[in-house]
């Protein structure tokens, strides 16, 4: 099949979103369903079909999401309303919009990498947590396990007080 000439193709925009909590691994397909569900429940099927959202990648604590040009604002609003993926709580913080994937990947490369969890882990109230330290103070505690993991968001000072 002959590809469509560039002038006849629909223009796309790419949104970069930071996934929090930072240590979370998200399946791109599950993320796509969460974004689509949020967009559809907020603006309806008509807008969703025109926006054509698609998750290009979801790795390293960032997601790149594609949409039709002109729908970036609506998609950004829908992203703020995503509260979880596959029963795992998370938030998507929109960082940038671009016309190319390349520029967003450059941004991701410049951002600080996700820290590895503390190998020793932590035990609070009889539950075992993976501790992710990042920034100068922040500590995210994610309960070890597969489903319904408890999350705690503290600072280094809080941890010392515990």
């Amino acid at each position: 099949m002959k590809p469509r000439p560039p002038t006849m193709r629909e223009k796309k925009r790419y949104l970069l979103a930071r996934i929090e909590p930072r240590g979370l691994q998200v399946d791109p397909k599950e993320l796509y369903y969460a974004v689509l569900e949020s967009l559809t429940s907020l603006y309806g099927d008509s807008v969703s079909s025109q926006a054509q959202p698609a998750v290009i990648s979801a790795a390293g604590g960032y997601a790149i999401i594609r949409c039709t040009r002109g729908y970036e604002d609506l998609l950004r609003t829908a992203l703020t309303m995503v509260t979880g993926v596959n029963e795992v709580r998370l938030v998507l913080r929109s960082c940038a919009t671009s016309g190319t994937i390349h520029s967003l990947k450059t941004r991701i490369a410049a951002a600080p990498s996700i820290p590895a969890p503390d190998p020793a882990g932590l035990e609070i109230g009889g539950k075992c947590f993976d501790a992710y330290h990042y920034g100068s103070e922040k500590v995210d505690l994610i309960e070890k396990g597969f489903k319904n993991q408890e999350l705690l968001f503290l600072t280094q000072t809080d941890l010392e007080e515990f």
Binding site: E20, S41, M81, R93, E137, L152, F153, L154, T155
Partner: protein, 213 residues
């Protein structure tokens, strides 16, 4: 402009410590937060205002709670109820914010209460938690109520506040994100800016508006 998230619930009510919430608020671009049952302090360059949340059905109980629980510099927030309750609670001097109007009976916050709120300088809070977390008909009802509040606000110009009502840092949203959410129920960007800075005006009522000719 001092931007404020009008209600967050730190640990133990939520899963994030007050320090972490203040740090997150700083990164998101807030200058202050109202922490329910928190403490009046400053952390990471963010002013933390202690909020006293009162959920009662009768006025005398509200007054009792205000006397027992609130101190100097605290912000008293009351959950809305029936029409008569809302009107009378707005008249209580210590009350700063009336919230959860979306949970109150239909038309319980009417034009009389709106005019009273405007005269007394009591803010009406728009809680974004149900807009973010609810889906379907329940969210539609909330959006409908918020549109009605915006209509009354346009006529009577009572103060509005916007809150994430966050129990976790994952529930907190930046001022820009709040702006885009508020656009969903027809609030203009200027109105959102005014609502985000309303808390500082509640504490300094003298510095509200100056007409320069």
């Amino acid at each position: 402009m001092i931007t404020t998230d009008a209600a967050v619930h730190p640990y133990p009510a939520g899963d994030s410590s007050l320090r972490r919430m203040a740090s997150e608020a700083h990164e998101l671009g807030f200058d202050s937060i109202v922490a329910i049952d928190g403490q009046n302090t400053e952390m990471y360059g963010v002013r933390v205002i202690r909020g006293v949340l009162i959920s009662e059905n009768q006025l005398k109980n509200v007054i009792g709670q205000v006397r027992r629980r609130s101190g100097k510099g605290d912000l008293v927030i009351v959950n809305a109820g029936e029409t008569a309750f809302n009107r009378s609670v707005i008249a209580v001097k210590e009350v700063g914010i009336l919230r959860h109007i979306h949970k109150a009976p239909k038309n319980s916050f009417d034009h009389v209460a709106a005019r009273l709120a405007s005269e007394r300088g009591v803010a009406i809070d728009l809680d974004l938690h149900p807009v973010i977390h609810m889906k379907g008909p329940s969210r539609q009802r909330v959006l409908q109520k918020y549109r009605d509040i915006i209509r009354l606000h346009t006529r009577y110009r009572f103060p509005l506040t916007v809150s994430s009502n966050a129990y976790s840092v994952l529930d907190m949203r930046s001022p820009d994100e709040m702006k885009s959410i508020c656009r969903v129920f027809g609030m203009s960007g200027q109105d959102v800016d005014d609502a985000l800075s309303a808390i500082s005006r509640l504490f300094n009522p003298g510095s509200a508006v100056k007409v320069v000719r």
